[in-house]
């Protein structure tokens, strides 16, 4: 039995410790992304913005004895080989108040042109956000359209200020939802030799932590504290548009933050939050079957330079992802849980920052009849560094030491050789 629950409890203890000692980097993403409130009466008619991320990644894992590779040993989203240069994100968008005299209505539109799970299999482009926010009712702003749903910090935060290159395993596998083609055409693939392994068998965009729906939310100030809530209902079909099954997803979110100072995505403060999501999915391979999908979690984030500490725990039931090569195994009633703790240190008066993260994830818990077998665990320690050329341009370098294993011998054979991964990335925001 892999002792993941114990690790989760340890992370929870750390979060509780942070709560008690008031030790946070945190921004109010719901307000930053959904409103122009921070520019009340100043927001332009149309502010053009975006960012580019260019990267190189190298994976040091060995193949299985037959020479085949599984997705964690290859570089996504293509999953062809173990090294790759990539423009993984290239986004351009416009936001503001179309009619600047009425600051009660604002909009946000953003498109992805990079090569990642959003655009892979979708002609290399996809609209990620298109929303309108109505700020007429005090305490109940209303946002409609396609946008990031309220949830875990790692998914909700603006990706261009993310302190690492790759997501944690728990966020990547438990929260970043994959959608097999509803016509059932996505098929499984066994471990394959490189190059041209072509292990990504999904033909639809990943969820990208977004949904199409309606969100009611607002922020309340009390002294130096900010309290934010959100309730949302959406299709539960990510950014693939349309409601493919007639079921709606519900999202609940609460955060309380002690604001130290600053503004925007790198505001200093200490934030604690909790969230819950619930919905249903239809089996792409047998539409007569429906499956509950539940996700929930809590966390805390602290930033007061020169230190940053973040910790999150998350768990879920139903629709537990089994890998990019196994779309037909995503429909299941398995359980999974995980979390991470990370910290950053801004070195004195330099532009250099050192980051360290530990994350753990266990899938297929308590489900001996799971199609993919029993528990699999992924533990990763990531050591990273960031060099800020200026406020809009930075270089990330990171090395992830990974330890994957499974209680099921056949799965363990594929996972035990998952090894280190090196990544370097440049981000420029305009």
């Amino acid at each position: 039995m892999i002792p993941t629950r114990r690790k989760i409890y340890s992370l929870m203890a750390v979060i509780a410790g942070c709560l008690i000692t008031q030790s946070a980097y945190s921004a109010n993403w719901l307000m930053l992304q959904g409103t122009e409130a921070h520019k009340q009466g100043q927001a332009p008619r149309a502010h053009v913005w975006g960012f580019i991320q260019a990267q190189y990644q190298y994976d040091n894992s060995d193949p299985n004895p037959a020479g085949g590779y599984i997705p964690p040993k290859l570089i996504g989203p293509n999953l062809d080989d173990q090294s790759q240069f990539n423009i993984n994100r290239a986004r351009i968008g416009v936001r503001g108040t179309g009619f600047p005299l009425d600051s009660k209505v604002n909009y946000f539109i953003l498109a992805e042109l990079g090569n990642n799970g959003i655009t892979y299999g979708d002609d290399g482009k996809h609209l990620t956000d298109a929303s309108i926010t109505f700020n007429h009712i005090p305490g109940a702003r209303v946002r409609v359209g396609q946008f990031k749903y309220p949830g875990a910090e790692e998914g909700l935060q603006a990706i261009h200020v993310f302190d690492y290159i790759n997501f944690t395993s728990v966020t990547n596998q438990l929260l970043l939802e994959r959608f097999p083609n509803p016509d059932g055409s996505d098929s499984n693939q066994g471990p394959t030799p490189t190059p041209n392994a072509d292990m990504n068998q999904y033909s639809q965009s990943v969820g990208a932590f977004r949904d199409v729906g309606v969100q009611v939310f607002d922020m309340f100030k009390g002294g130096s504290w900010e309290h934010t809530y959100a309730v949302m209902v959406g299709n539960g079909n990510g950014i693939n548009r349309g409601d493919n099954d007639g079921n709606k997803d519900w999202y609940l979110y609460w955060s309380s933050e002690l604001v130290f100072g600053g503004k925007g995505g790198r505001r200093e403060g200490w934030k604690t939050f909790a969230w819950y999501q619930d919905g249903k999915r239809t089996n792409a391979y047998d539409r007569t079957q429906e499956q509950d999908r539940t996700r929930y979690g809590a966390g805390t984030k602290y930033l007061k330079k020169p230190f940053r500490v973040t910790a999150e725990v998350m768990a879920g039931e139903g629709m537990i992802f089994q890998g990019q090569h196994r779309p037909q195994h995503i429909f299941n009633n398995g359980e999974a849980s995980g979390g991470y703790i990370e910290g950053g240190w801004y070195i004195g008066s330099t532009n250099l920052e050192i980051d360290l993260r530990y994350d753990t994830y266990t899938r297929d818990e308590n489900h001996p009849t799971s199609a993919s077998g029993h528990e699999s665990t992924a533990d990763t320690v990531t050591l990273g560094a960031q060099y800020h050329f200026n406020k809009k341009t930075r270089l990330n370098v990171e090395y992830a030491s990974r330890d994957y294993k499974s209680d099921t011998p056949a799965v363990n054979t594929q996972q035990k050789d998952v090894d280190g991964r090196f990544a370097i990335q440049v981000t420029h925001i305009f």
Binding site: Q42, P100, L101
Partner: protein, 145 residues
């Protein structure tokens, strides 16, 4: 007709008050500056307030007489819900005056379907540009940041 007379009286009183303020509030002012904000660019709002603040810092509140005149798209600076409300209040305490263009307010009322609520520290003048010309004729230096 009565409404029109009331409006004219209010505007006249406002002009007299502003003029009186200009003359009486800063009896020891050695520099007189009028700042124009008429631009839609939101960063100009911050800039014009920064300039006013810098003038006060450089010469001292009693030694410089500053008035910010807003018209056209620049009037958004003097909307009551503007993000800079706190700064306007602070500058008012330092003796900076804020004049809002009556003509622009009328146009915006038409576009919005209702009269925009202006910052309590702003005084409505009949026409922003006329106010600037008058101040320049009184010896003020015009600066458009």
């Amino acid at each position: 007709m009565i409404k029109l007379i009331h409006t004219l009286v209010l505007v006249t009183v406002a002009s007299v008050v502003l003029h009186a303020n200009a003359a009486q509030d800063k009896p020891f002012a050695e520099q007189k500056v009028v700042l124009q904000i008429s631009d839609a660019d939101p960063t100009k709002q911050t800039l014009v307030l920064n300039v006013a603040s810098n003038l006060i810092k450089a010469y001292g509140p009693d030694k410089v007489d500053v008035e910010i005149v807003a018209f056209g798209p620049g009037l958004r600076l003097m909307f009551d819900d503007n993000h800079n409300k706190g700064r306007i209040s602070g500058l008012t305490d330092s003796g900076v005056r804020f004049a809002a263009c009556g003509n622009t307010r009328k146009k915006m009322t038409k576009a919005l379907g209702k009269e925009p609520t202006l910052n309590g520290n702003a005084t409505v003048v009949p026409a922003g540009v006329v106010r600037i010309v008058d101040l320049v004729n009184e010896g003020y230096i015009l600066v458009k940041p």
